[in-house]
Amino acid sequence: MEEQFVKTEIRKPENIVYKKTDLMVDRPLSYCPGCGHGTAHRMLMEVIEEMDIQEKTIGVSPVGCSVLAYDFLNIDMLGAAHGRAPALATAIKRMWPNHFVFTYQGDGDLAAIGTAETIHACNRGENITIIFINNGIYGMTGGQMAPTTLPGMRSSTSPYGRDVPTMGHPLKITELIAQLPGVYYVTRQAVHTPNHVRKTKKAIRKAFELQKENKGLCFIEIVSNCNSGWKMTPVQSNKWMEENMFPFYQLGDIKVDGKLIEAAK
């Protein structure tokens, strides 16, 4: 098939089956090449566009690599102090109960400094969506150890590998908060292959639909790569993630309709 034929016959506006949503601000992303943040942002915005709720959605961004998320997401946003996004989201949802409110947080934000805010928003069953990007490392500040860094995994503050006796075990915060009755839907997904991206988008859509029903907090963990922090190429990092992160942070639903999935217990 000739390239010219393709250009004239197929490359027509009416034949577009995929293009980046207009709810992503049209500017270059500041994330590293291959970083899952960009994909996660885009799926989130696609859901909001398809549900046509952008006028009623308020997002809270964290401190971390995605501190600049508010520059890329074409909805009203608030940048929270490190770890505090669930506190902001709590107040926002309580005072704008008919709006859709979400936080978008990294592993340090949600599971280190923000642990109390995370647990208590979950415990109160705030009708918000928390999106948790877990790449087992502190990207923005240069690759330090995170609460979710795996045993033996190297980082700039665990240069010989995470030493469990002195540095503790990785924190499975998602499984912890899933125990709380105020939490309704908990799932762990990924965005490094097309099938995983489709599943993540479905999970985000489900969480936002559930916000309409005031059933409680919906929590989506996205296990992602950090090729810069892990010191690999993007493709290598996705492979490393499959081989090392996924066995520990298992993908799939953890709590659905307010009930823990047996296998996840």
């Binding site: 016959e9 027509k12 577009i16 089956v17 995929y18 293009k19 490094h192 292959t193 991206v197 993007p234």
Partner: protein, 76 residues
């Protein structure tokens, strides 16, 4: 007889050369360029017309630089 054919257009200036799209493509439509864009990245480019418009590459692209077209075309 009709066949589904696809096409991708890549915003080469926004591509950061992560190559995740290449791994996602079920065929071999995409390869990295020899040249670099103005940011210094090798960028992804379409190298043949086998594309079926499956959208795998665009879905997985962290920077959302790929637009995908698909149409039924008559093949004689």
């Amino acid at each position: 007889m009709a066949k589904i054919k696809g096409d991708i257009v890549i915003n080469t200036e926004r591509c950061k050369g992560c190559e995740v799209c290449i791994a996602a493509c079920p065929l071999t439509v995409i390869a990295m360029s020899k040249e670099v864009n103005s940011k210094g990245y090798h960028f992804a480019m379409k190298v043949n017309n086998e594309c079926t418009g499956c959208t795998n590459c665009a879905l997985v692209c962290p920077d959302g630089v790929i637009t995908v077209y698909r149409a039924k075309v008559a093949i004689d």
